[in-house]
Every structure is written in structure tokens, then in C-alpha cells.
Symmetry: C2
Subunit: 648 residues, 2 copies
């Protein structure tokens, strides 16, 4: 208990919720690390595809990046509209649920979930990739490093989104500042030098061209580069995390993320082609990432390089945080609709949805272990889900504006709606086209796996919903309370011997019914059973005779032998017989139990009572009721159990 | 469930107990492996002490072994008497409990328990030592091998003593036969050769003498050699495992064990001095045990050597089995007297005391891990417990015969009693003297640890007994049944909404009392709670109005807000208030619960009900009663839960 408090902080009250929400300052680190960090692996992924072109590849990086930045601008404009229209979480799931129907929204949910899990794995392994680029000696520890970072991010998010946002603000803003400085210096050098700029530390010699340029290759590079855009949707999915006025803080955060990302992408493309930097294969010895080559070329081996690369490493590793903010909130909405277990919708100790966080962490850990912690193999799986949800969200918004247009009366309200429609339609067209390119380019590389997994997830979601629907249908009570007077139940009191437990239990039993049977199961300890005569003698003396004197039908004592030393075995048999004999009466089993309050008491008792209760409830049938009567060695102070009372 | 059945066999009925008992054929492997296997480490331990004497040490091995064999003969005679006098388990614990009093018997119990745990560790590590002597390549795997063998022995004993005895009969009788052949050949060669016999494979050259002979050294060697005798008491401690006529099978087993052990000890001492074989330090590279050197010297490297050493390895490794037979039976008796948790006295699935077996296995595993699986370091700890219990058992028998003599009338009955007395007194004198020598010789080597641990164990046993005594005193009910009519309880029904669960629970509640309050805890899922108006509206329509119409006091609905999302928090507070308000009434909390029957249902529900029940019983106080009302998605067939019905 106190270990948990130490790790993730004290339990928060519901009323503390408003103080736990984000402004834009925490919003950028909390939700934007994915978007901002994408600047590292987007260009790198595009350049990796261009490796076969050799030096000729550098000609094409400019136009490819220009296309990607244009797409980013379209996305920015359309998501600004989306969060305004759905300020309580305008993610693809909600937008398609409201506009495209239930099934489409499940497709969006499945794609988003997969995307978020992949984002955690890709983000962390990219971060560790950058670390190894700087410290090659760590090459053998890729997987442990990945899992360690995952554990850190998980723990911080269990403490709360605000805590994570505050802690991760330092590396985020350091990264942005230091790379803007690197890019500024590089641009200055390029503009002021005659011919190509002189690198301080020259990047590796460019490889020989091994393939001619082709439209397919360029499309492929574009598709890979598009991974740079994932994370832009994060703000729309996580709107509920912002404080009021929510829309203002959401817009500020979105603007900051897109502006930073656009600047970085443009700068990297410009400098890479001028400093003649291409990607290297990640498995190669001496591998160095594009950003590291670039920082080396511009800033040499000084403090700026280490600050830039150090903060880049942090940003990449922590870009998983975006998923940890959005995934649990998405799952919460899906769970509230009945498509995920209800526990996903419960706010945990720190007012975050802990079950979603645990689930995300364990699935990502599994992926990291399966893929050995290497990013490249995961990226093809990654982009499809992201662009699928982009497209669905945009299409959903198009439908949203069309509906609004239909109900709009005059031209003055129609004109802005038409502008909104145009922007989202442009977004839908752009992201849809990108999606087709990505699917075509990455299908054989593993993207087909995503296309298999998405339907499987949808089937799972629908199965869960069907379970809850069946449960609700079974539990639904359309009529009023059933006040039919029924006969009192037959009562069984489970007893070990004549003691205060049994005395107390019989007292309760006699209130319930006149038909009380005390059951004592013998031979539980083994074949060499104890003598059972004494319990019978005491029963006659202390129960039967006094009852008769008081004019009460005496509770009968029944000794049942258990051949298999299982207490529930003869009891269930007896209950079955009683149910047949008394077809119209319920059966109440009374279990007196000594309450254990310390760990060592658990070792001192046999736990038969607990196991018996479980078995009775599991197999007893709907005419059975189990009554637990506690007995305390020391009467507890009820206050001890009240959380609220303890913390004031 | 079926995995357990596959591993240890089907659950046995109490009535099958007679068929599960041992004859002498299974008795020797089941209980005698410790005694028989001692022939390997007893002489080895004595010879290890003699190493500093070099070749001169060989002169003394004969006399030392003769003393040990004489002690063995005395022990044999006295244990024959003990098992006749206490045929239902004549171990040191029972003998001293009956004759020397409670405290002395606890000393015996503590010493025996420690002895049994040490025997498992020593036996297994000696077996692995012998294996490494034969296959030095395995030297790096000492600990894993030890733990693997421990697991095997544990599993076999969980299946049952009979199963273990049958399985281990093959290696036991192979060992006895093959070593008798080796000893016979060696003796024949010695007797027929002129001068010392020619070894087939000569043993290592004897080390230089580094110390002069001293009485202390010889006593030390005797004390170490006495470990050869541990295991002789096993039959007396495990008498309850034999089939009827119990005394006959017990005596046969005891005789077989002592005869085999005596022959082996005599033969080994004779051949070691003639073939000039001394012990080697176990940590030395190229270490070879005395028996392996001896078998090599007599039989060379042929089939006989491998059969002999292979079966020796098995016997040593399996000598732990003796502890697994006796320790759980000892713990059972101690637990029945209230000095150990009651679960030690419960016969498990296979009619053996599984808790004792688990406890023994885990303690021995801990020891093996702590000591790295090397025997030598454990032996000093070992002998004291064994000889302490020998002595106590003998002294107890002396008292037993003295009592019998006092009540005996005529000379005809007195004479045999005097013979019995004499034999046990001799046994007590011999084992007591050996004990003193052992304590003196081994004190500094680690035996002091045993002398610290024994009192600690006694304190633990007494603490456990005190707990049970307090519990019994608290529970004892000296008077007859309390028939005082009390007011019906105030009933709380925990409800999530108006459904069949609540309907059923209210039906039961109204039977109990006219004062029924339904409690619905809100804000459990987090700060953004759902609208609670609908539950109130339905309550009025479907509960309050119909009740009023029927002339029943309507159950009230109470909404409680939980700031900390803990369902028990506001409930315990309410219960506390009610207990103050209604000082003379009990409070019954009714928990309707959906019964989960499959593993995936566990993932679909929140388990609040289960946790609530635990908290209520823990903190609710003695005026609280918890009623669990099951609700089934599919009505269970009660038969499924009845074990007896399933297996016929």
C-alpha cells in the first residue's frame, strides 16, 4: 500500500480533478512529443528509402519534404476545426461515431489502438537508436534500455498526465531550442559559403548508386517520410486532458506542435541536401542517425552537439508519452460504449485510467521483445493505422459539415460552413491519397499485418459488446419489485464445533427461518479422523435441550463425512438434495468465519471457509444465498477502513 | 486442475488409505535411503578428518569404524524396543512427550525438524558430489542439479509415500547388491594376495602428513563418522506409514536397514585401509569420493563400476526421501498438538501431508542455494540434531521402562522390563557420549548455528501454540445457545441500478427486516460521473410506489458519493453512523453478485463486489453480517461442483 503511494503518489480525490488538467505549457510535452519527435524519424525514413540512389537521392529530398510539409499544413487547418467542433475529445473514434456510424467508429478505434501501441514501441526504439548512435558501446543493451525507458514512462503516467507533462517539459523545450540553433547555424553557413558549406565533422561518404530513380521509389520515400506526421492528431484525441477554457489550450498546443514540426522538417531537408547527408542502415556497424550526422556537420563535437543529441534522445524515447496520454482516454470512451471491459473506464488512484496504461505498457513491451528493439521493422506497421485514422477523422468532419449545411438556414451561416467543409475535404483527399500510397508502398514490408490485425481487433471489440449486451438483457428488470411472499429459506449453518461462532451464526439463522440445520463435515483432515462424539453430546446439551425448553424447534446437527477431504463436496450434495426436497424454498448457507487481520494469521488458518464460499457461489445455483458472519479476535475500529477519514 | 492430476495423480479417497501403506519391500527405499546412503558419507567424513595424518591415518580408520558399528548395534537393539512400545509412531517427539514432558518434546521436535531439513540438503548435495566425481564436466552445474533432484523427490512424495518407495526400490536394491559384490571382490583379493592387494585403478597418492596424531583428532574423526548413523531413527518416526501388522513390517524394515548399513561400513573401512584410500577435499580439482576410489581400485573402469557408482549416486540423491517420509508425519503430530499451523495436519490429495512436503522442499532449496550445493559445509550442522534426538529418544525410553517397572507386580514381568531398560540405557549412554563428542568437535565448525536455531524454533512453536490457545479461549462458549430475541437487523442492499439482481436482493432483504436501505455509490468511475437521476426515477416507479400499494414500508434508496472512487469508503462510513444510531441492532449488508464461471469473465468485471466483501468483513465489526446473493448468466448444474459425483 505505502509502496504504491511512494511510487505514484497519494490517492487523489475526485474534487481535485480540475487542478490535474493541462495548459499548453504541459500540453506540448505531454501530447506533442510524438509529433515533435517525428522530425527525427520521418526524414530519416525517407532518406533510408533513397539510399539506393546514392548522391542522386539528395536532389529528391527537398521536393518530398515539401509535399509532406504541405500535407502537414492541411492537417493542421483541419484539426483546428475538428477540436472546435468536438471540444470534449474530437478523436477519429468520436468523429466517426457521430458522423459515419458505429462500425466505422470501431474501425477507427481499432486503427488508433494499434497505432498507439506501435507508437510506443517505435518511439522508444528510435530513442534508443539515437543513444546508440552517440554511444556505440551500448549496442548490446538495446532491449533492456527500451524496456527501462518504457517502465519510466509508464510510471510517470500512472502518477498522472500532469506529472508526466511537467517532468518532460525540460527535455522537450531543450530539444526544440538546441535544434533550432543547429538549423540556424547550418542555414547561415550554407547561405554565406561559396558553394556547399564545409562540415565541421564530415558525414560518411555517400554510397554508390545501385538503382535508377523511379516514380515508385519516390512515392515510397514519401510514404515513409509521412511517418513524420503521426502525432498531429494527438491533441484532438486528448482534448479532455486540458483545463478550461479547453479549446484555447487545445488550439495553442496544436499550433505549437505543428509549427515546431514544420520548421524542423524544412530545416532538416534543406541542410541534408546541402551538407550531402544520407541515411545509413540501422543494422550496419558505425551507424549514425541523420540528425546526428547533421549536428556533427554543423556543430562539430562540442557542447551544442551533446545537448542537441541528448535532448533528441530524450524526446524520441519519451515520444511514447503521447500514446500514454491518448490511449487510456480512447479506451475509456470505447469502454463506456461497452466495447472494452469496464475497468478501462475507471479513473485510478491518480485520476488517470490506469488499466489502459497497464495494457498499453504490456503490449508495447511484448512488441519490443518480439522485434528485439529495432525500429525499422516496426515502422511499416505503423504508418497505416495513423493515416487510416487521419482519413476517417477528415471524412467524418466532411459529413459533419454537410449535415450542418443541410440544417443551416441562411447564406450568412452557410458560408463559413462551406469553408470548413472545403478545408476538411482537402484534408480527407490529401490523407486518403497518402494512405493509398502508403498501403501500396509498404504492403509487402509488413503493412499487411496491420490489415489483418485491425479486423481481428474489431471482432474482439464486438464480442466484448455482445457479452455486455447479453449480460444487460439477462439482468434487465422491466417490471416493478417482486413482493410475492415466499416461505422462509432452509438454513444450513456450517460448524466446526460448539463455540461462539456457531452460537452467533445460529442466532442469525433462527431469525431467518425455523428450519435450521447445522452441518459438521467430518474426515476433512484425513482418514484418521478425530472422535466426533463430543460435538454431538454438546449439541444435545447446549442447543437442543435449551431450544426445546424455550419452545423453539431445535436446530438439528448433521454430520457429513467427506471421503475426499473437500468441505464443499458433501455440502453441495446436501444442498442438491434439499433443493429437490423443498422445491419452493431458498437455501441459505451461513458461514461463520474468524477474520484475519495480519499476514501471519493467513498462515495459521486453513482457508476452507473462503474456498467453500467460492464453491458454493459458483455451483450452488440461484436458490442459494451465502451469509458470512465475521468473528474478530480484536474488535476492529471501523475508522481504520475508511480512507477518507484517514487523510482528512 | 488436470495439470495437478497429471503430475501427482488423481485425488484419493479416505477409504483408500489402507492400500496406500508400505510393506518392508517399499519401506527400505522409502525410509532407509538415508541410513543406507550414510555409508557413503560417514566413512568419507571420518577419512576427511584424517587427511592431515597422511598415510598414518589409515591405521585409525578400522578402530573408528568399529566403534561406530558398535554404536549402530546398540541403536538397532534399542529402536527395536521403541517401535514395539510405540507402534503408532515412536519418534523422539512422541517418546519424549509421553515420558519427559512437553518442553522436552518440543526440543526433540525442533531438533528433528532441523535434522530432516539438513538431511535433504546433505543427501542431495552428496549425491551430486558423487555424480561430479564420475563426470567432472558437470562441475559447474552443482546447484541446478541439486535443485532438479529436490524437485523430483518432492514430486514423487506428493504422489505418495508408496509411489516414492516403489519407484526408488530399483536404485536402492541395485546399490546394495552392486556394492556388496564390490566389497566381496575386494575382500577376496585382499585375503588372497600376498601383501596389500593390487588396485585395478590405483587411488591417488596419499598426501604428506601435516599434523601428528592426537586424541582430539581421532575423536573428531569419530564424531564426523557418526553421521553414518543418521537415518536409523527413521523407521521409528514413520511407523504410521506401514500396513498391518505394523510392528512386523516396521521391524523387518529396521533390521534390513541396519544390517545393510553395518555390512557396508565394515567392508568400506576394511578395504580403505588395505587399498590405502583416503578422502580428498571436495573443493579440490580432480576430486574423487572414497567410494568411487574404492570401486575403481577393486573393479576398474568396467560395467560394475558404473552400475555401483550410478546406483550410489541415485541412493545418495534420493536419501532425502527419508526426510520426505518422516518430516510431514512429524509435523502432523506437532500440528495436532497445536504447535504448528493446522494445515500441517491435513492429508492432501494423495493422503500425504502436502503442506509439510512443500515446507520441507522450500526450506531445503533455500539451504542448498545459500550453501551453493556443497555438502561439507552442511555436515557440521547436521550431526548434532540427529544425536540429540537419538539421546532424547533413548532417555525417554529409559523413563518409559522405569514407569513400567514401578507398576509391574511380579518378577516374571519385571525381568524382561529390566532387559529393555538396560538396552535403552546403554543406547542413551552411547548416543549421549557421542553427542558430547560431536558438540565438542564440531562446535567451532558451525554446529553452534544448530544450537542457536533450536531454541528459536522452540520459541516459534510455543508462539504458535499460544495463538491457538488465545483463539480457543476467545471462541470457547461455555454456556448454552443464546436464544434472546433481538430486533431484526437494519439491512443495506448494495445496488448499481434497478435490475434483477437488486430485485432478488430486495426480496431477501424484506424477509430479514422492515428497515431496508438500498445504497448506490456514485462517482466510482471518476470525477466525470454519469447522470444518476434515472436510477432515482425508476426507484420511485418500480420500488416505492408498488411497496406502498402493497402496504409495505418501502425500501429507501440512498445515493452516496465516493470522493476517492472506493466503494467501501462511504459504505463503512454509513455503517458506522448506523451502528451509532441503532445501538442494539445488527447490520446486514446484502451484496448481489454476478457469478463468473470462465477466466475471461474475470477480465470483463470490476471485482468491486469481492473487494467490498473483504473490506466489510475486515473492518465492519461484529455487528455486521454480509449476505452474498449469486446471480447466474447460465444456471449452473450443481453436480459439476461435486467431486465425488464426477469420479464415481
Amino acid at each position: 500500500m505505502s509502496l504504491i503511494e511512494w511510487a505514484i503518489g497519494r490517492r487523489l480525490a475526485n474534487r481535485e480533478h480540475p487542478e490535474r488538467r493541462l495548459g499548453a505549457f504541459e500540453g506540448v510535452p505531454a501530447m506533442g512529443l510524438d509529433g515533435v519527435g517525428s522530425s527525427a524519424y520521418g526524414p530519416e525514413a525517407a532518406l533510408t528509402i533513397l539510399i539506393p540512389l546514392g548522391a542522386a537521392g539528395l536532389i529528391y529530398i527537398g521536393p518530398i519534404m515539401a509535399a509532406i510539409i504541405a500535407l502537414l499544413a492541411i492537417l493542421y487547418a483541419s484539426y483546428r476545426q475538428t477540436i472546435a467542433a468536438y471540444p470534449n475529445n474530437g478523436g477519429a473514434y468520436i468523429v466517426s461515431r457521430e458522423n459515419l456510424g458505429r462500425n466505422t467508429s470501431l474501425l477507427a478505434a481499432a486503427a488508433l489502438m494499434i497505432d498507439y501501441v506501435l507508437n510506443v514501441a517505435v518511439g522508444i526504439s528510435a530513442g534508443v537508436g539515437a543513444l546508440i548512435s552517440a554511444v556505440p558501446a551500448l549496442h548490446d543493451y538495446i532491449l533492456p534500455l527500451c524496456l527501462g525507458i518504457l517502465a519510466l514512462v509508464t510510471l510517470m503516467n500512472l502518477r498522472g498526465t500532469l506529472d508526466a507533462g511537467r517532468l518532460f517539459a525540460l527535455p522537450t523545450y531543450t530539444f526544440v531550442l538546441s535544434f533550432l540553433v543547429v538549423l540556424a547555424i547550418g542555414t547561415w553557413n550554407t547561405l554565406t559559403s561559396a558553394g556547399p558549406p564545409m562540415p565541421v565533422i564530415p558525414p560518411p561518404v555517400l554510397p554508390e548508386a545501385t538503382a535508377p530513380v523511379s516514380a515508385w521509389l519516390l512515392m515510397h520515400a514519401f510514404a515513409s517520410g509521412c511517418t513524420a506526421m503521426t502525432g498531429v492528431e494527438a491533441v484532438s484525441n486528448g482534448m479532455s486532458a486540458f483545463k478550461e477554457p479547453r479549446l484555447r489550450y487545445g488550439r495553442r498546443t496544436l499550433t505549437a506542435i505543428c509549427a515546431i514540426l514544420g520548421l524542423l522538417l524544412a530545416g532538416i531537408a534543406y541542410l541534408a541536401s546541402n551538407y550531402r547527408i544520407l541515411a545509413m542502415h540501422q543494422e550496419m556497424p558505425g551507424y549514425e542517425s541523420v540528425l546526428s550526422q547533421l549536428a556533427h556537420a554543423v556543430a562539430g563535437d562540442g557542447v551544442l552537439y551533446y545537448v542537441a543529441i541528448g535532448s533528441l534522445l530524450c524526446v524520441l524515447a519519451l515520444s511514447a508519452n503521447t500514446s500514454f496520454v491518448d490511449f487510456p482516454r480512447l479506451c475509456r470512451m470505447v469502454a463506456e460504449d461497452g466495447f472494452l471491459p469496464r475497468s478501462f473506464a475507471i479513473a485510478g488512484r491518480r485520476l488517470v485510467f490506469s488499466v489502459g496504461i497497464f495494457y498499453l505498457a504490456s503490449t508495447a513491451a511484448l512488441l519490443l521483445v518480439l522485434f528485439g528493439g529495432i525500429t525499422d521493422r516496426l515502422i511499416p506497421l505503423f504508418a497505416i493505422g495513423a493515416f487510416l485514422t487521419f482519413t476517417m477523422s477528415q471524412v467524418g468532419m466532411v459529413v459533419h459539415w454537410l449535415k450542418a449545411l443541410r440544417s443551416a438556414k441562411d447564406l450568412r451561416t452557410k458560408t463559413p460552413l462551406r469553408v470548413h467543409l472545403l478545408i476538411n475535404a482537402l484534408g480527407a483527399w490529401a490523407t486518403g491519397s497518402a494512405l493509398i500510397v502508403i498501403v501500396a508502398a509498404k504492403f509487402s514490408e509488413g503493412a499487411w499485418i496491420t490489415l489483418l490485425v485491425i479486423p481481428a481487433v474489431i471482432v474482439l471489440l464486438k464480442t466484448i459488446r455482445r457479452y455486455y449486451d447479453d449480460l444487460d438483457a439477462g439482468l434487465r428488470d422491466d417490471g416493478p419489485i417482486n413482493l410475492a411472499r415466499v416461505e422462509p429459506p432452509v438454513v444450513l449453518v456450517v460448524t466446526e464445533r460448539w463455540d461462539k461462532l456457531t452460537d452467533k451464526a445460529l442466532g442469525f439463522a433462527l431469525r431467518l427461518s425455523a428450519d435450521v440445520v447445522a452441518v459438521h463435515v467430518t474426515a476433512l483432515d484425513g482418514p484418521e479422523g478425530k472422535d466426533e462424539r463430543s460435538i454431538r453430546d454438546r449439541w444435545v446439551r447446549d442447543v437442543e435441550l435449551p431450544s426445546r425448553v424455550a419452545g423453539i424447534k431445535p436446530p438439528r446437527l448433521m454430520l457429513l463425512r467427506s471421503e475426499y477431504r473437500l468441505i464443499y463436496d458433501p455440502l453441495l450434495k446436501l444442498i442438491k438434495e434439499l433443493e429437490t426436497e423443498f422445491a419452493d424454498r431458498d437455501i441459505a448457507v451461513i458461514l461463520p468465519e474468524v477474520v484475519k487481520t495480519t499476514w501471519w494469521q493467513w498462515l495459521m488458518h486453513t482457508h476452507r471457509g473462503r474456498r467453500l464460499r467460492t464453491k458454493l457461489l459458483r455451483y450452488g445455483g440461484s436458490r442459494l444465498v451465502v451469509v458470512s458472519i465475521p468473528w474478530y479476535l480484536d474488535e476492529p475500529r471501523i475508522d481504520e477502513g475508511i480512507y477518507h477519514a484517514k487523510t482528512g
